[in-house]
């Protein structure tokens, strides 16, 4: 091992930035940094350290993101509710408050030092396994998301399939938690969670099938690559800017809300009905793990939505391409997370039967029609001129028509009322 490796790397840096956007210095910075670290090591170890480094980076970046998403959620919720939210927690060993940025870490320290209570009648093994399994599967889903032009942790041919397979396993963990706790509320919540997650698995899957159909690949990098470029240098070629893509994105996000147990689909942990649902008997760090896993799930699903519909790491306009791709990814991610929080602050919760009815009678038919719509879209790719307008018209109609009709059916018997007065 010599010093030459790292040094040559450093010498190459300015040269790298002279090339196109793909090779811009900032764009390559993570790779450069990684290679700089591994260049200190002997060749045979490099692949191992490379993967360990990716894991470490993903865990720390998303761990930090989790911490600050919770803080952002508390602060944004506060702002929406006319109050500032946590802002007084000082940085440890100092008196600096710094807008309460240390708050999530205080919560972390507190959770770590909290007593871990396992109820007497609980299944101890499952009670312990549930949060671990949930967290493990949530983290596994991070492997295939392309975070930047050169940043895909694992290149899989069937990356999308892997993502949803790993994501579906979390249902098991929620049921384990509810079952193992030996608490009636937990059990009810576990039942709810199973019904809900399985119901929404279907629209979630059906929502991304059109993307695969159009992009012609199950690989996440290729799906992102299919969304490159701009129409007239203005409108990006993202899937969300097509009628079927917009519908698919909406369905995907609704299903993602349900899959990640977020309001208005937070039935398993419905506070006003089931105390804390499947989390009722969890305390201390196990509870924190659950919490973390749920946020990880939310982040991963948002990341996948970006990959599938929002052009992945692509910049929205060619004029801002100099900003590195991973920054765009993070920006889009933040926007989607903000949406999650905004929705949580506004909506009440659905009832179980309404929730499943919404999935089976509204989202699934819409997603199926949307699949046909996407097929039409990809078959009619060569239409041009006035036919292009016709193509758009048909496609929009195929999205809006069923939405209105099914929506009317869904909200039958539910309408604002007029009241009479006695004088």
């Amino acid at each position: 091992m010599t010093l030459s490796g790292p040094l040559t790397f450093l010498l190459q840096l300015p040269l790298a930035s002279a090339a196109g956007a793909a090779d811009a210095f900032l764009e390559r910075l993570p790779l450069v940094a990684r290679d700089w670290v591994t260049s200190w090591l002997p060749e045979p170890w490099r692949w191992l350290v490379n993967s360990l480094l990716s894991i470490a980076v993903i865990l720390s970046v998303f761990g930090l993101l989790f911490a600050y998403v919770t803080l952002a959620e508390r602060k944004i919720l506060g702002r929406i509710q006319n109050r500032p939210g946590p802002n007084r927690t000082p940085i440890p060993f100092t008196k600096l408050r710094f807008f309460g940025l240390a708050q999530p870490f205080a919560d972390g320290v507190k959770s770590l030092t909290k007593e871990d209570v396992v109820p007497r009648g609980a299944d101890h093994l499952l009670h312990f396994l549930a949060p671990v399994v949930l967290l493990a599967f949530s983290i596994l889903t991070f492997a295939v998301i392309p975070y930047g032009r050169h940043l895909v942790p694992v290149e899989l041919n069937a990356g999308v399939l892997y993502f949803f397979a790993a994501g579906a396993a979390t249902e098991l963990a929620v049921f384990m938690a509810g079952w193992a706790s030996r608490n009636k509320y937990s059990l009810l919540a576990a039942m709810r969670a199973l019904a809900q997650l399985i119901s929404y698995e279907l629209p979630l899957l059906l929502a991304w099938v059109p993307v695969v159909l159009v992009a012609g690949s199950l690989s996440t990098t290729e799906i992102v690559a299919a969304q490159a470029g701009w129409q007239f240098n203005v409108i990006p070629h993202w899937h969300v800017f097509t009628p079927w893509g917009a519908a698919g994105f909406a369905i995907f996000m609704i299903a993602a809300l349900a899959e990640s147990n977020r309001s208005p689909f937070d039935l398993p942990e419905a506070e006003s009905e089931l105390i804390a649902g499947h989390l009722t008997e969890y305390s201390g760090f196990k509870y924190a793990l659950f919490f973390m896993a749920e946020y990880f799930g939310m982040i991963a699903l948002s990341g996948m939505a970006i990959t599938l519909f929002l052009g992945g790491w692509h910049a929205p306009s060619p004029y801002v391409e100099f900003i590195p791709s991973y920054v765009w990814f993070m920006g889009k991610l933040s926007a989607l997370l903000l949406g999650f929080i905004w929705i949580r602050a506004t909506f009440p919760r659905l009832r179980m039967d309404q929730l499943t009815r919404f999935a089976w009678k509204f989202l699934v038919p819409l997603a199926l029609i949307n699949l046909g719509n996407a097929a039409f879209w990809s078959l009619s790719f060569h239409w041009s001129g006035p036919f292009q307008i016709l193509r758009w018209l048909i496609s929009v109609l195929v999205v809006v028509g069923p939405f209105v009709l099914l929506g009317r059916k869904l909200s039958a018997g539910v309408a604002p009322r007029v009241y009479r007065y006695a004088v």
Binding site: R79, N82, R83, P84, W342, V404, G407, L410
Partner: protein, 205 residues
């Protein structure tokens, strides 16, 4: 159409979110330990005893230990023991005073009935609310020394009410003085009359 109500709701929350950055009506928080709410004059928390004079609080208590408040207090949280001897009050009239005056703030319900029934304007409501403590027994039982606060303090927390009370007391005092003066004059006249042999002997001995 399905979803319009939901979108309107999102609009309201967005309006509040944006409003919280520029509209004080949408960010109503008082940063409590640093900023404190301006308490209205009428605010009441626990009773205190008014003293005329801050330098000698025990000597100038207005309370004459008549025990009316003790009887009327709904949760019975006042305890008074009358003194054996009398002390002159502000008008110089000898009055009893409370040898023991205790209020159990762990029972008091801040209802202000003691203030309303007090004929001597001696007990009033305080406005201190930062009294959280780790000690239930001794810290929450207020004795005579802890309860006594000066009239100036009373003016500070309830200015309008205190001014009215002072005016009323001054009027009463004046009336009492006039009455005393009149009585003294009558007495003098009576004495003068007694001195004169023609007059009838006074009825009272």
């Amino acid at each position: 159409m399905l979803g319009t109500g939901l979108l309107q709701g999102l609009g309201v929350t967005a309006k509040n979110f944006v409003g919280s950055f520029h509209d004080p009506a949408r960010l109503t928080t008082i940063e409590y330990p640093e900023v404190k709410t301006k308490l209205p004059e009428a605010y009441r928390n626990f009773p205190f005893l008014v003293t005329e004079n801050a330098t000698d609080p025990m000597g100038t208590l207005r309370c004459v230990a008549c025990q009316i408040c003790e009887k009327e207090c709904p949760p019975q949280c006042i305890y008074i023991e009358k003194s054996k001897d009398k002390k002159p009050d502000a008008t110089g009239k000898p009055q009893l005073f409370p040898a023991v005056f205790a209020i159990d703030t762990s029972v008091c319900m801040s209802c202000q009935i003691c203030v309303e029934v007090c004929p001597f304007e001696a007990i009033k409501m305080d406005q201190v609310y930062e009294i959280a403590t780790t000690d239930r027994f001794s810290a929450l039982l207020l004795n005579r020394e802890q309860l006594a606060k000066s009239n100036a303090y009373y003016h500070e927390i309830h200015p309008t009410e205190a001014a009215e009370v002072d005016a009323r007391l001054a009027a009463e005092r004046k009336a009492a003085e006039e009455k005393a003066a009149a009585a003294a004059a009558a007495k003098a006249a009576a004495a003068a009359a007694k001195a004169s042999p023609v007059a009838k002997p006074p009825l009272t001995a």
